[in-house]
């Protein structure tokens, strides 16, 4: 309940406050969002499987975002930023799909 509320409040804050994203951060924002989504899907699956742990969630969320941004940052410095971004997105998207499939099985028994 608190989790859903937090998500709604966060989206509302982001939409209404229009946080100014610093220029140096802008290339990493989309990747960070995908990484965060991956953490959220993982958390939902864990909740449905009854093994949710908020400490694990917070750590996985923060580390996911930081590592994804770091990989893209390193890629940018090495001149392969777009390729590494693609790689990160592919891996994270696969995980999201896998978790979503698991959530679907839990919810609908399919």
């Amino acid at each position: 309940m608190i989790a859903v509320l937090g998500l709604v409040v966060g989206i509302a804050l982001g939409l209404f406050l229009h946080p100014v994203v610093p220029l140096w951060m802008q290339p990493y924002l989309p990747i960070a969002v995908v990484a965060a989504l991956d953490a959220v899907f993982g958390a939902v699956r864990a909740t449905l499987e009854g093994i949710f742990d908020d400490k694990v969630f917070v750590i996985s969320f923060v580390s996911n975002v930081l590592v994804a941004a770091l990989i893209v940052f390193l890629g940018d410095q090495l001149g392969v930023g777009s390729q590494l971004s693609t790689g990160v997105v592919v891996v994270l998207a696969m995980r999201i799909f896998s978790n979503a499939a698991s959530i679907r099985r839990q919810l609908f028994g399919g």
């Binding site: 608190i2 989790a3 993982g42 093994i51």
Partner: protein, 294 residues
């Protein structure tokens, strides 16, 4: 290779890696934490301490919204810049027009005063006449007379031609140059393009997709007007290289053009003033002799 082998047992690496990503989609930390809790305190297994999760999800929401807002904000910014540039171009063009009009009005005033001053003496009258002839040739005076009007326009549907490239059906600066040169060659005494009088210093060139005459962009259709001998100019133009070139453009690329004889054309004076750096060789020195002995 045995077909019943499970994909993850393959050793060529990549499928194994993908299978691993797929299987370990859930952070292994969850299972580890659950096992640890079960060991320590089986009763508190479903204990929900979700404040940290709530805060994290709020952060996720902010990230999500910020990213969406950012992605949407970047698009109008590009469009906005384009609109700003267009507005600036239009404003500067308008300014150019007003300044040119003012310059033309002042030129008329200068001409009038010059005539008055020169008309005072007999020699002055003679000079005034000479000046008039010279100014006609230098495109510094409006002129009127019979001549030719050539209208050029892009192909009807660019790209529908056999070539398929939309840029092929467009009138280029080269085409206009060819037409203007053809008119001069056919004996034109004064030429203007879209009411811009051409002088000996005029340039027809392109910048991007636009054709510029003396740095002023033209809009289609392109109307080239020339004053010349009405009996010969049309035939001479059609027989010359420019006339042939125009027919080729029409047949090959679908460029539209029409050539009409006009009994009375009026061409405005050119906006450019006289020469700024070139000086006539002084009368006392014989120019031919000067060339021989530097």
């Amino acid at each position: 290779m045995p077909t019943d082998a499970p994909p993850r047992s393959r050793v060529d690496g990549v499928p194994q890696l993908l299978a691993q990503i797929w299987d370990e989609a859930l952070d292994p930390g969850y299972a580890a934490a659950a096992a640890r809790k079960q060991r320590e305190d089986p009763a508190a297994r479903r204990r929900t301490r979700t404040l940290g999760a709530g805060l994290s999800l709020a952060l996720v929401g902010i990230l999500l919204a910020a990213a969406v807002v950012q992605a949407n904000a970047a698009r109008p910014a590009v469009a906005q810049r384009r609109v700003d540039l267009l507005a600036r171009i239009q404003a500067q063009t308008q300014r150019y027009d007003t300044v040119t009009t003012a310059a033309a009005a002042l030129q008329v005033e200068v001409d009038r005063l010059k005539s008055v001053a020169l008309g005072a003496t007999g020699q002055g009258k003679l000079l005034d006449g000479q000046l008039g002839t010279l100014e006609l040739a230098a495109a510094q005076r409006p002129v009127t007379g019979p001549g030719l009007r050539i209208t050029l326009d892009d192909a009807v549907a660019p790209g529908s031609g056999s070539q398929g490239d939309p840029s092929l059906g467009r009138v280029l600066d080269r085409d206009l140059q060819m037409v203007v040169n053809g008119l001069w060659a056919a004996g034109a005494e004064a030429v203007s393009v879209n009411d811009q009088r051409l002088t000996s210093l005029s340039a027809i060139r392109s910048a991007g997709d636009a054709i510029l005459v003396d740095y002023r962009p033209l809009t289609r259709p392109y109307v080239v007007e020339a004053i010349g001998d009405p009996r010969t100019i049309e035939a001479d133009f059609a027989a010359g290289a420019a006339g042939r070139g125009l027919r080729t453009l029409q047949q090959t690329y679908g460029v539209r053009y029409s050539v009409d004889a006009a009994s009375a054309l009026t061409l405005a004076a050119a906006a450019t003033t006289g020469l700024r750096y070139a000086r006539p060789v002084s009368r006392q020195q014989d120019p031919a002799q000067q060339e021989v002995t530097p």
